[in-house]
């Protein structure tokens, strides 16, 4: 039995507020497994996150997830995605903000909005090679500085 967004007024309200505020900038809203995901343009990322934090009370960045889909690169030219998993204390509402990024395309750093993004962005840089503009100290976090390649790209072999 697929659940509808309409059954969850709190999440529906968030989706609605975002739509009202940003309109065209919200490329796509999906609701699956009780999780709300909003796709935005990279250029609007900071504005959307700032609104979510100060306007809607999403005060914690839970996690940042990088994705690599090489097949999609041919279709849209946007090879990577970055998922921002936001969290609201108290209450535990979650929303996922998604952006699509192309190789070499810089992404604005969200460390000014969520301090916990510091290491998470370094991790994504390390693993996918996505650069964040405005990050206070972007460098590899797990791998040694002289490591070549970015392991979580699909074309990177497991054995290195």
């Amino acid at each position: 039995m697929p659940e509808e967004l309409a059954d969850f007024p709190a999440l529906e309200h968030i989706a609605g507020s975002l739509q009202d505020r940003f309109g065209e900038a919200i490329a796509e809203t999906s609701f699956e497994k009780r999780e709300l995901a909003v796709k935005v343009r990279t250029a609007d990322l900071l504005a959307v996150l700032e609104f979510l934090r100060s306007g809607l009370g999403f005060n914690a960045l839970n996690d940042m997830i990088g994705l690599d889909h090489p097949p999609r690169a041919e279709e849209t030219g946007k090879r990577f995605s970055i998922l921002y998993q936001l969290y609201k204390f108290p209450g535990g509402l979650r929303v996922r903000v998604v952006i699509d990024v192309d190789e070499g395309e810089p992404v604005p750093s969200v460390t000014s909005i969520y301090r916990s993004a510091d290491w998470a962005e370094r991790e994504i840089f390390d693993m996918f090679g996505i650069r964040f503009s405005g990050h206070p100290g972007l460098r590899r976090i797990y791998l040694p500085d002289d490591f070549e390649g970015h392991p979580l790209r699909k074309d990177f072999p497991l054995g290195g």
């Binding site: 699956e32 497994k33 999780e35 995901a37 005060n59 914690a60 960045l61 839970n62 996690d63 997830i65 990088g66 994705l67 690599d68 889909h69 998922l83 998993q85 204390f89 108290p90 209450g91 535990g92 979650r94 996922r96 969520y114 301090r115 916990s116 510091d118 290491w119 693993m127 590899r140 976090i141 797990y142 791998l143 040694p144 392991p151 979580l152 990177f156 497991l158």
Partner: protein, 364 residues
């Protein structure tokens, strides 16, 4: 000797970095001016490896993330997979999972208090707490055959039913642990040196803690009553009655008190779960080759160290396209700098200890 500032390098091999963490410190006469953790010395490429394994093969590898709380890792991953599949597990399986997870929390917290006290110099506590922890590991050994990397939760339920022998062992632990915990507290709670080393050390405010994404006991010690078991229940936690211990101070001592109280609450939950265990299936049949239709899911649980989550993206095959772990220690370690600036070098050891980090889940 007119030096002002010394650059100190703690680790990657140092007695109190809890594994292979490296801290770049700059100290002025033992006062910490700056501190920068360098991680990755245990980066095993788990997330890359998972992309080449089937959903089931991943479960035992999650044991090796937070190796002090293997069951919690299993549970978080398995719950995420089950959510992705839309699979419901039978109540008995859910209860057994709760029992195992709470015993694991107990073991993890006991190990923590030992390590923490050892960092401060009270090594006897470490020996006591490890002896108490052995009783819990015995339960795991009797149940699945492994002590540390338990692999005690499987997709679709739990591997075995709890038999009388294991239940008897659990009941014995339930009866004996409060006494043993009281012994440890007797060594520490009224000890002036312990109080001096922990009270008012490593203070962090609730606002800072939230901003840095701190979770788990470290967050609850700043006065934020947030426990996923209570607030977003999973695996039937809503059936049990337990308190969420909260302390206002945000210092090392409060983190200690919160964890000690959580030990008691875990015992309470295990006792209730044992009492309400009804006969039934302990697992549902899951196809041998597990193919999950395309989709994505993010699920978090309350692990001993904080909020532990898994993001899983499936693509219709028997292997996930991407599994990302949200590790509590990774986030908690990030706040070390905020907590320890301005304190003494000796305090860094205590503050690091109080965060309860495990490098396995930081470095993945």
């Amino acid at each position: 000797m007119a030096f002002k500032e010394i650059e100190l390098n703690m680790g990657p091999q140092h007695p109190s970095t809890h594994g292979v963490l490296r801290l770049k410190l700059s100290v002025d006469n033992e006062v910490v001016l700056a501190i920068e953790p360098v991680i990755g010395y245990l980066h095993r490429g788990m997330e890359k490896l998972w992309e080449s394994l089937t959903y089931r093969q991943i479960v035992p590898l999650t044991d090796r993330l937070d190796y002090l709380a293997a069951v919690s890792n299993n549970l978080a991953y398995v719950l995420a997979v089950e959510k992705l599949m839309g699979l419901e597990v039978p109540p008995r399986a859910r209860y057994i999972r709760v029992i195992l997870a709470e015993l694991q929390r107990l073991a993890s917290h006991l190990a923590w208090v030992g390590f923490m006290a050892n960092d401060i110099g009270a090594m006897t506590v470490l020996l006591y707490s490890f002896e108490d922890r052995e009783d819990i590991l015995d339960i795991f050994e009797a149940y699945v055959g492994a002590r540390l990397t338990v692999h005690g939760v499987r997709i679709g339920g739990v591997p075995f039913d709890l038999d009388e022998q294991v239940i008897g062992m659990i009941r014995r632990v339930l009866d004996e642990t409060p006494k043993k915990v009281a012994d440890i507290e007797k060594l520490l709670n009224d000890n002036r040196i312990w109080l001096h080393r922990t009270r008012g050390v490593g203070v962090i405010s609730a606002a800072d803690a939230l901003g840095l994404g701190l979770t788990g006991p470290a967050l609850r010690a700043t006065g934020v009553a947030w426990d996923i078991r209570r607030d977003l229940p999973y695996s039937s936690y809503e059936d049990f009655e337990f308190d969420v211990p909260v302390r206002p101070g945000g210092d090392v001592y409060d983190r200690y008190l919160v964890r000690m109280e959580e030990i008691r609450q875990s015992l309470r939950i295990v006792r209730q779960a044992l009492g309400r265990l009804r006969p039934g299936e302990h697992r549902v049949k899951v196809p041998r080759v597990l193919k999950i239709p395309a989709g994505e899911v993010f699920h978090t649980i309350e692990a001993p160290k904080g909020e532990l989550g898994f993001y899983i993206r499936s693509n219709g095959t028997d292997k996930p396209e991407r599994v990302k772990m949200k590790s509590p220690s990774f986030i908690n370690l990030q706040s070390l700098e905020r907590m320890s600036k301005g304190y003494l070098f000796s305090d860094v050891v205590g503050i690091l200890g109080s965060l309860d980090i495990v490098l396995g889940e930081i470095d993945k």
